[in-house]
């Protein structure tokens, strides 16, 4: 709640808590099942006045009222989805911390997997070029592995040389990435 207070008092007129003592206390465990449902739901809802706090965490006066409103809706038998829908009807998608998947948010939800795929593609391309780097066609993979084995024996803990193996430092004429 402190976060809310900070925001509220700094911005000229948001909702200061009505005098201490007048905020209704959270009715605890009158109905534990309903309360659990509420707090689960409220995790994913934004406390609209705090700008960046969930409805579950916030003790801003409006958040308390909204929780009470949700309780009331739940008591009348509304489903979680219906409760959320009625909040969205008043406050817009802004109230949802988990943005719904719809055309406007395709990029948001599709972005992370796309980044990963792009990254994997680029990495595979690099790997492919690195594997085939300076591999003359007449040298067999076995011979290369042997050579690698030899190089490997001294490539760790080699404080002096910046590049582990001398062979490796010669630039190749292949374009990177």
């Amino acid at each position: 709640m402190s976060r809310c207070f900070g925001l509220i008092l700094l911005l000229a007129c948001l909702i200061p808590a009505p005098g201490v003592g007048s905020v209704p206390a959270v009715p605890n465990a009158d109905d534990p099942a309903l309360e659990a449902r509420l707090s689960h739901l409220a995790e994913d809802l934004r406390c609209v006045v705090c700008q960046n706090e969930s409805l579950a965490e916030s003790r801003a006066s409006l958040a308390l009222d909204l929780r009470e409103e949700i309780r009331e809706m739940m008591r009348t038998g509304m489903s979680d989805d219906a409760v959320v829908a009625s909040l969205v009807a008043r406050y817009g998608d802004f109230v949802l911390y988990r943005p719904p998947v719809k055309p406007l948010t395709y990029v948001l939800w599709g972005g992370p997997p796309a980044f990963l795929l792009l990254g994997i593609a680029l990495a595979l391309a690099t790997l492919h070029r690195r594997r085939t780097l300076r591999t003359p066609s007449d040298v067999s993979p076995e011979a290369l592995r042997e050579a690698a084995q030899l190089l490997r024996s001294d490539d760790s803990n080699h404080p002096g040389s910046p590049i582990a193996s001398g062979v490796a430092s010669r630039p190749s004429h292949q374009e990177e990435r």
Binding site: V26, P112, I163
Partner: protein
């Protein structure tokens, strides 16, 4: 008078920065040693001037000089001395000043400790840092002067934001800025490398200790920020996916990718182009973080003033620095592929995989943080992107990295043997998996999240131990001496990876097994939670230095009869009238007990929230391990050995003083 002197010092520093940002670069371009030699004394003089300016501001705060606007707005006659001092960076202007002081500090450190680098390199690095400094000093002077006078002089100040009056906030901003700004060194090295066309292993070796040191500070800074949120925001959350937090997480992720990419570039001369791009990106994200927090484009917990002029200034500066360096990258990045070949399964390829996942995770955080802004800017409405989104996309991208932590350090460079590695790690894998599957069953039944987290943590811990075993198996002599002889870089890596495991354990257990109760408590009533009994003894009024507190007394008896008393407070700050919840925490290695006061209900009864947070301390212990690992790695001997070898012509002043070693101490 002090304020005017401070202002003058900033102006003078700007003049020096202008010279530092131009003359040495020209010198390096023409090969003129006299011009290049200006870089070091300029950087040092700038540092002295800015430290003076900072001291002048601190002095104004400590002596209650309310004629300075900054002091009047962020201090108060009753504010304790410690917070008066930290209030120096509690405001926008003050934190920018701190930023420039730290930037000058890093430049001065480069000028002192990088004695053995080629002169052109030093001139270019300091020149680039001078240019960055020009931008920030101009921002400070033109839009946000910390020394502006106020007339008429107010009788008293408006007090520091109570949220910032906390131990966590004392050291969080300086450490965070040490990290943010420290990446400017890596950035300057990258730009210098592009300018000189030398993007090789030597470049990577020079910039590596600086990068690791900056990363270490950033790790501590982010960790402390989290600790502050935990203590101060009143409900024991430790990460909110708030834009401000994301702004610090993004450079951290990029920096983590960077220190791993640098390893491949240093050891094998490969991935040079990618590494240099990451170095640019890491500092760019630090600047972006500053922009996001300072410009107010994103609504955030930390209510900073919104001011388009400042924001515009930072954005233009951002455009010049980032746009300029990326243009340079596009023009100058080598077209040749440096370094040797490596197989599809090798240390290099695993480091590459690490980078793919880390950068994808970074992209996800960036996308989620800026998406509301994108939609808003396009006029497509307002949405919120909060913790449910970030948890959903971040965890799947980071879990593979954690798994790779177990594999990478054991794989050989160039070509590793996968079947052999699988064979060697089979027990680590099996034991970690079985333990992680069974442990949640003993607690509250099947819990896949907990199993995944525990598996990854145990897997990392076992493979870290395996790493030691592999290192020791070919050596003779006493184990202790062998361990002591292992390079510090190795120790650093092991510590950091183990720290990651501790962090994952903390996060997993506290997220899945935390319990809380939100109750009304009349005086003398009790509550049982997680084996603890809480007895509420009421609330009494206790005056603080600059607030009046309602202090609750909660007697707590633990499962083994150990008892302690917690004093959660509800504070009303005198100057601002802000009401703050000050939670009371009993810290422990395996659980924290956390109590925060709600509201009075009459007759001495209050609403109270009580939390039992298992293993939450591991989160911060893990952070400390990460930082310790970073410090050890940066202090590795080989950075000094190279230094000594390179310094053959000019006798080194003090070859044992490694820059990074000093910085990380």
């Amino acid at each position: 008078m002090m304020a005017e002197l401070g202002q003058f010092a900033i102006a003078l520093a700007l003049a020096l920065a202008l010279v530092q940002g131009s003359v040495p670069l020209v010198g390096a371009h023409r090969g003129d040693r006299r011009l290049m030699a200006l870089a070091r004394p300029l950087a040092q003089a700038q540092f002295v001037l800015l430290v003076f300016a900072f001291a002048a501001l601190a002095w104004s705060f400590l002596t209650h000089d309310f004629s300075v606007r900054n002091v009047a707005q962020n201090s108060f006659s009753q504010l304790p001395a410690m917070y008066r001092f930290t209030a120096t960076w509690g405001s926008h202007e003050g934190s920018l000043l701190l930023w420039t002081v730290i930037l000058a500090g890093w430049s001065a450190a480069v000028s002192v400790f990088a004695r053995q680098l080629p002169e052109e390199m030093v001139a270019r690095v300091l020149g680039v840092m001078g240019l960055v400094s020009v931008g920030f000093l101009a921002l400070l002077l033109l839009t946000s002067s910390p020394f502006e006078r106020l007339f008429p002089i107010p009788a008293d100040g408006r007090d520091l934001n109570p949220l910032l009056q906390d131990l966590g906030m004392v050291s969080h901003p300086p450490l965070l800025y040490m990290g943010y700004v420290g990446f400017s060194v890596a950035f300057a090295f990258a730009v210098a490398a592009l300018l000189s066309g030398r993007l090789d292993a030597a470049w990577a070796r020079w910039s590596r200790p600086w990068t690791t040191t900056a990363w270490t500070f950033l790790t501590l800074g982010v960790g402390l920020g989290s600790w502050w949120a935990y203590r101060e925001l009143g409900w024991g959350g430790w990460w909110f996916w708030d834009p401000t937090e994301n702004a610090s997480l993004m450079p951290w992720l990029a920096g983590t990718a960077l220190i791993h990419a640098l390893a491949a570039t240093e050891k094998r001369g490969v991935l040079g182009n990618w590494t240099v791009l990451l170095a640019i990106a890491t500092f760019s994200l630090s600047l972006l973080g500053t922009f996001l927090v300072r410009s107010g484009v994103l609504s955030s917990v930390h209510a900073f003033a919104t001011d388009p002029t400042r924001g515009l200034f930072i954005l233009v500066f951002l455009g010049l620095v980032i746009g300029g360096s990326l243009t340079l990258y596009a023009l100058r990045a080598p077209r040749m592929m440096g370094g040797g070949s490596f197989a599809w399964f090798s240390r290099e390829s695993l480091l590459l995989a690490n980078n793919v996942f880390l950068v994808a995770a970074l992209g996800a955080v960036l996308l989620g943080t800026l998406y509301p802004l994108f939609l808003d800017a396009l006029g497509l409405g307002k949405i919120s992107v909060g913790p449910p989104y970030f948890n959903a996309v971040f965890v799947p991208l980071v879990a593979p990295v954690l798994f790779l932590v177990g594999v990478g350090p054991l794989a050989r460079w160039k070509q590793a043997d996968l079947p052999d590695l699988i064979w060697r790690l089979k027990w680590a894998f099996a034991v970690a998996l079985v333990t992680a599957a069974l442990l949640p069953l003993t607690l509250d039944g099947v819990n896949l999240q907990a199993t995944l987290g525990l598996f990854l943590a145990l897997w990392i811990l076992f493979t870290v131990l395996k790493g030691f075993a592999v290192r020791l198996q070919h050596h003779r002599g006493s184990r202790i001496r062998q361990l002591a002889r292992l390079p510090r870089a190795f120790w650093g890596m092991q510590f950091a990876h183990a720290g990651l495991a501790l962090l994952v354990i903390g996060v997993t257990l506290v997220s899945n097994y935390e319990t809380e109760r939100d109750v009304r408590m009349p005086i003398g009533s009790h509550l049982d939670l997680a084996g603890y009994r809480f007895v509420f003894q009421g609330v009494e009024e206790v005056p603080g230095p600059n607030y009046l507190a309602g202090r609750g007394t909660m007697e707590v008896t633990g499962p083994w009869g150990r008892s302690f008393t917690l004093y959660p407070e509800k504070r009303n700050y005198n100057a601002s009238g802000m009401i703050m919840t000050q939670a009371a925490v009993n810290y422990g290695p395996f659980r924290d007990v956390y109590v925060s006061l709600g509201d009075p209900l009459g007759d001495g009864a209050w609403t109270v929230r009580v939390y039992h947070k298992p293993f939450v301390a591991w989160l911060w212990a893990g952070t400390l391990f990460l930082a310790l690992g970073g410090g050890l790695a940066a202090a590795d001997r080989r950075y000094r050995v190279t230094v000594r070898r390179r310094s053959a012509p000019a006798p080194a002043t003090d070859p044992l003083r490694s820059a990074a070693g000093e910085g990380a101490a």
